[in-house]
Amino acid sequence: MDALVRSRGAYVCRSCTRSLRRQWLRGHSYSTAATTPDIYDVVCVGGGPAGLSLLTALRANPVTSHLRVALVEAQDLAKVRSWTLPPDRFSNRCSSLTPASVRFLESIGAWNHLARDRVQPYHEMQVWDGVTGARIEFDWGLGSAPPARHAVEGTTIAYMNENLNLTSGLLKRLDELGGVAVFDGAKVEAITYGPETEELDLRQWPLVHLSSGNQLCARLLVGADGANSPVRSFAGISAPGWDYDRHGVVATLEMEGDGWRGDQIKIAYQRFLPTGPVAMLPMPGRFSTLVWSTTPANAAVLKSLSRKDFVAMVNAAFRLSPVDLAYMHTQEAGQADEYSWRIQHTPHDPRAVPQEVVAVQEGTVASFPLRLRHADTYIAERVALVGDAAHTVHPLAGQGLNQGQGDVQSLAKTIEYAVTHGQDIGVTMSLEPYLSERYAANHVLLGVCDKLHKLYSASSGPLVPLRSVGLSAVNALTPLKSFLMNRAAGNPLKLF
């Protein structure tokens, strides 16, 4: 499918670019050199976690540090760079970073630039079925005694972290490395192809036109530009998928304490409700972050509630039956009272669920639609897609950002190999290893998350008893559990 024209900022289909190019050339031959494009080895569109990690990886590696690289980002990066919050306030956009992602960030020298006191490792996962109560517990075989601090390292399942902490840390690392031409606060107005001159034939090189008037000609154009990637449209790559008709509601929560096992052993909780999974993930101290996948109507209700009623709904989501919960979604207000009455009549083990939420931080309740998208390919001639531009995953496994880091690590390695073997880093021949390494792995993960979502969306029918047997069986089977935990920890999947 050819890319569509967004007028004024044309993402132009390949055939149309031919005529544009002619115009461009005409314009050129008779005008001054003022508009001569700047030639770069890598132009990365998108300054999110994926784009920033890629540039950091390229700059940090002596093999690729000679490449001429540029970053294009629509936002003003100064705000990200100077991002700061008081120690008792947390952004509502958090992600779980797997140990594999953290190792990668360490290897490119970025991890130390994060505000580490705002990063929370967790060591256990409690996952259960909201309809049947079947439960699975993930931990790395810890005894009940909290291990010594250094021992905790190896037992970490993942790290909870604010996305802004990551992008801010990456930017600091990039500033330290230097050598990146940064075009921030600049929108991509159009992407066409480069010119042809007597000496050079850049007709297959993407030419990025910025709102600032700059023109960047790219040996390799990297689309790290999110789910609605203009780079992907330019390359004519479609990203089929579907909307889940679910929204993810996020919020920063204050809990009654720092967790059932204290500050040393933190626990992540996820309960599968018929409307979708609700997850409570530990942040430093008494704080947690919420990711609640639910229907758009329920999400609208949750966002409209008073802070007190919202807190009651979150507590209810981990404790009350799906029927009670459904009823409380129909109330306009008064969920706090409703909850305190119903909880008295709901038998539960308080230590099997998160501690009580006592407050929600102001302005942190938000929601976004959930989608599954997978691009048909990640590469085209002189184009590579990473992160959300390549795939959007259901957040229930907390893998989205990690998949993006995995893409970046693989693409950086692919570029390094191409450089050491004299290949043109932009051609598909050089990019093929990236595609073959990442596509299948991402596809498996997207499929697993999608099936899990569908499996647990049913509140009755033949699947319900089966999935409980499944969850209990998984819990009893150590090898399968460690397989699942290794996936969650981002360890490479060995298919063969």
């Binding site: 000679h66 034939d201 073997h421 004299g422 598909t428 021949m429």
Partner: protein
């Protein structure tokens, strides 16, 4: 059954030098077929049926070279590879195996350079000057010219058609622009290329990839090519051993059954065995060092794999350092 066709003494009589142009070896694949035909009036010792006579007439040099300029070039080879010109850079075209093999060439060259006695000093591993003989569409030449350790690449091929493709393709990369001096294509044969007078001005690395199997008189050809290596430099080549396996894989399967490479790409009788190459270089006395060898196997779908011992069977790399 190709081999069966070759019962006749082959290099016999070919008429006069192709009126073609200054041929020379060719390309990557094409290579140079030596002496094209032309040149010789003599017959080389015939090899009769290859399956029976196992050695290629390695020592046979054409005795009377009427036209030394075209000594290595075989006209048929040139026209075969010229016809492939348009698809040379198509990553999914018939040259795909060559594209996939290219990174291994660099790995092998690095391995060779690292065995030089002076490899610890950067002078022998940086600022390198390459001569790529039979460069074809420039797959290796372009890649060598991009390496930071390269000072310059001179790439020659006798086919003007294919060199036009090479030059045109190089325009797609500003790094390779002629004014930057990293890559120069010359339409010539090795016989016509002037040999730098001072040995020190000769090349650090002379490469001959997938060329030798297209050359009619390998010994004479290697004599000439070897002269371009500076003392301390390396001659690095890759070719195919003449075995039943290579006949089966490169002729029957690759050309006839799967059509992976175009029919007529290879002439099995021209394949050169690793021990024949060893013998050739050993016969030159102390001029050349002990060879480095690496056998590779093409696995469809997975690309080229280094397989120890496979140099006796099929495709292999061969590198030898000029000591004096």
């Amino acid at each position: 059954m190709r081999p069966a066709l070759r019962c006749l003494p082959r290099r016999a009589i070919r008429p006069t030098p192709p009126a073609l142009q200054p041929p020379a070896f060719t390309a990557a694949a094409a290579a140079a077929a030596a002496a094209a035909a032309a040149t010789t009036t003599t017959t080389t010792p015939s090899q009769a049926h290859p399956a029976l006579s196992k050695s290629r007439s390695f020592t046979s040099t054409p005795t009377h070279l009427h036209n030394p300029a075209s000594a290595s070039v075989n006209e048929t080879e040139i026209s075969h590879f010229s016809a492939l010109a348009s698809s040379w850079w198509d990553p999914h075209g018939p040259s795909r195996p060559l594209h996939l093999m290219n990174p291994l060439r660099h790995d092998f060259i690095r391995r060779c350079l690292s065995t030089s006695p002076d490899s610890s000093s950067s002078s022998s591993t940086t600022n390198l000057r390459y001569l790529d003989v039979g460069c074809g569409g420039g797959i290796f030449a372009e890649s060598a010219a991009r390496l930071p350790s390269t000072r310059s690449v001179t790439a020659i091929d006798p086919s003007p058609t294919i060199l036009a493709v090479a030059r045109d393709h190089a325009r797609r990369d500003p790094t390779l622009a002629p004014r930057r001096g990293r890559l120069a294509y010359v339409n010539t044969t090795i016989e016509q290329l002037p040999l730098p007078e001072r040995p020190a001005d000769r090349y650090d690395v002379v490469t001959l990839f997938e060329v030798l199997e297209h050359v009619d008189y390998p010994a004479a050809f290697l004599d000439r090519v070897g002269a371009f290596v500076r003392p301390g430099g390396w001659l690095v080549l890759s070719t195919i051993a003449r075995t039943w396996t290579s006949w089966f894989t490169t002729k029957l399967v690759a050309e006839d059954v799967l059509g992976m490479v175009p029919r007529g790409t290879h002439d099995w009788d021209k394949y050169v065995n690793e021990d024949e190459l060893r013998g050739y270089f050993a016969s030159k006395g102390a001029e050349w060092g002990a060879p480095q060898v690496m056998g590779v196997v093409y696995v469809p779908g997975a690309g080229w794999k280094v397989v120890q011992g496979s140099e006796k069977v099929g495709n292999y790399f061969f590198g030898v350092q000029k000591l004096h």
